[in-house]
């Protein structure tokens, strides 16, 4: 577990360093994820330890959002002033994004399979 955790932190650190050094708009952890993905593809898959450690970490991904979410208490004033705009923007935008993404993908996939069978 320790070696897997070190590996994850090492990739995150590399990502952060690259992001800062080259002033990239993409955040460090995402670069770390892409690098690890490439490393896994080159090596032919994760080892047992890395797999179980990641699984443990990702199983409770929701927990990691709790501290930031609790920050809503700092913004209660703004939320109280603009609650309608915020609620409608978040609600409608999220629903529309779900629908657009899913329908566009379904359409693309159907066209691809039709071409294959044609």
């Amino acid at each position: 577990m320790i070696s897997a955790l070190s590996l994850l932190l090492l990739f995150q650190l590399t990502g952060e360093v690259l992001a800062r050094y080259f002033d990239l708009p993409v955040p460090g952890p995402v670069i770390g994820m892409l690098l690890l993905f490439v490393a896994l593809a080159l090596r032919g898959g994760p080892g047992e330890e890395l797999r179980t450690t990641s699984q443990t970490l990702l199983q409770h991904l929701s927990l990691l959002f709790v501290p930031a979410g609790t920050g809503i208490m700092v913004h209660l004033h703004r939320v109280a002033d603009e609650w309608l705009a915020l609620l409608l923007a978040l609600l409608i935008s999220t629903v529309v994004t779900l629908v657009v993404t899913a329908l566009v993908m379904k359409y693309c996939q159907r066209r691809a399979t039709e071409e294959e069978s044609a």
Binding site: L5, L8, L9, Q12, G15, P25, V26, P27, G28, P29, V30, G32, L36, F37, L40, A41, P46, L50, R51, S54, L57, L58, L61, S62, L63, L64, F65, V66, P67, A68, G69, T70, G71, I72, M73, H75, R78, E82, A85, L86, L88, A89, L90, I92, S93, T94, V95, T97, L98, V99, V100, T101, A102, L103, V104, M105, K106, C108, Q109, A112
Partner: protein, 241 residues
């Protein structure tokens, strides 16, 4: 002689131990409720845990900064967890390769929809300019969204909250929307959840189906990168009008 409770509270409220402990306890209680409900999306564990914590901090008049001094150890794990998403992603590499076109087109359409619709609807209903900017990265995972908000002149901590609420809306609502649209492919369901509602949606997707979870993780990673590129480019134009 035992010290009075108030002295004990002075010690506890200044120590990071309390913030960390109540975060884990609140989450465990919330997760227990979520499981007891038969994994009902309405009993979202983040929503329940956050509500309990806000209530507790308000009742004890504890400042958020004091709480966060302890909770930051949990918050920190978002970084390594984001890196760890490479593993489920790798395990779905075949399926992703077979769906490359839908994945790319879905990513572009979804990412633009998420950014533009949030800002434009916010503006339509009278959100202030800094709130509009804070809304732009709302569909990507917290650390990325906060970074983007900072870069374009939004309010990072407000963005963090908007991101969480977006995640909860997606995690709660996705099943009903997809069922109404008769969308059954777990890969497409997962990918759309990951685009619209990042890690919280991804967490929910993993709880439902392994393949949905992997596609949600892929979508969340790709959308994080794309949004980080798109929002700074669009920001000037978005706030003009």
């Amino acid at each position: 002689m035992t010290p009075p409770i108030s002295e004990l509270w002075v010690y506890l409220s200044a120590s990071p131990l309390l913030g960390l402990t109540i975060t884990l306890l609140a989450y465990q209680a919330a997760f227990w409720l979520y499981q007891r409900s038969g994994a009902n999306p309405l009993a979202n564990p983040v929503l329940i845990a956050v509500s309990m914590l806000v209530l507790f901090l308000w009742l004890t008049s504890t400042r958020y900064e004091t709480y966060f001094a302890g909770a930051q150890f949990v918050h920190f794990l978002l970084g390594p967890a984001t890196v760890a998403l490479a593993i489920p992603l790798y395990q779905q590499i075949r399926r992703v390769r077979a769906m490359l076109l839908p994945v790319i087109v879905g990513l572009l359409a979804g990412s633009l929809t998420a950014i533009l619709s949030a800002v434009l609807i916010g503006r339509l209903f009278g959100a202030s300019p800094s709130t509009q900017l804070s809304l732009a990265p709302k569909s990507v995972t917290t650390p990325i969204a906060m970074g983007i908000a900072e870069r374009i002149g939004g309010i990072p901590s407000l963005t963090a909250v908007l991101v969480i609420v977006t995640g909860i809306i997606g995690a709660v609502g996705a099943r009903y929307i997809f069922d109404a649209l008769k969308l059954r492919d777990p890969a497409i369901r997962g990918f759309a959840i990951g685009i619209a509602s990042h890690g919280i949606g991804t967490a929910r997707a993993f709880q439902v189906n392994e393949q949905s979870g992997a596609f949600a993780a892929l979508a969340m990673g790709l959308n994080g990168a794309l949004t980080a590129l798109l929002v700074p480019l669009l920001a000037g134009w978005l706030t003009a009008g």
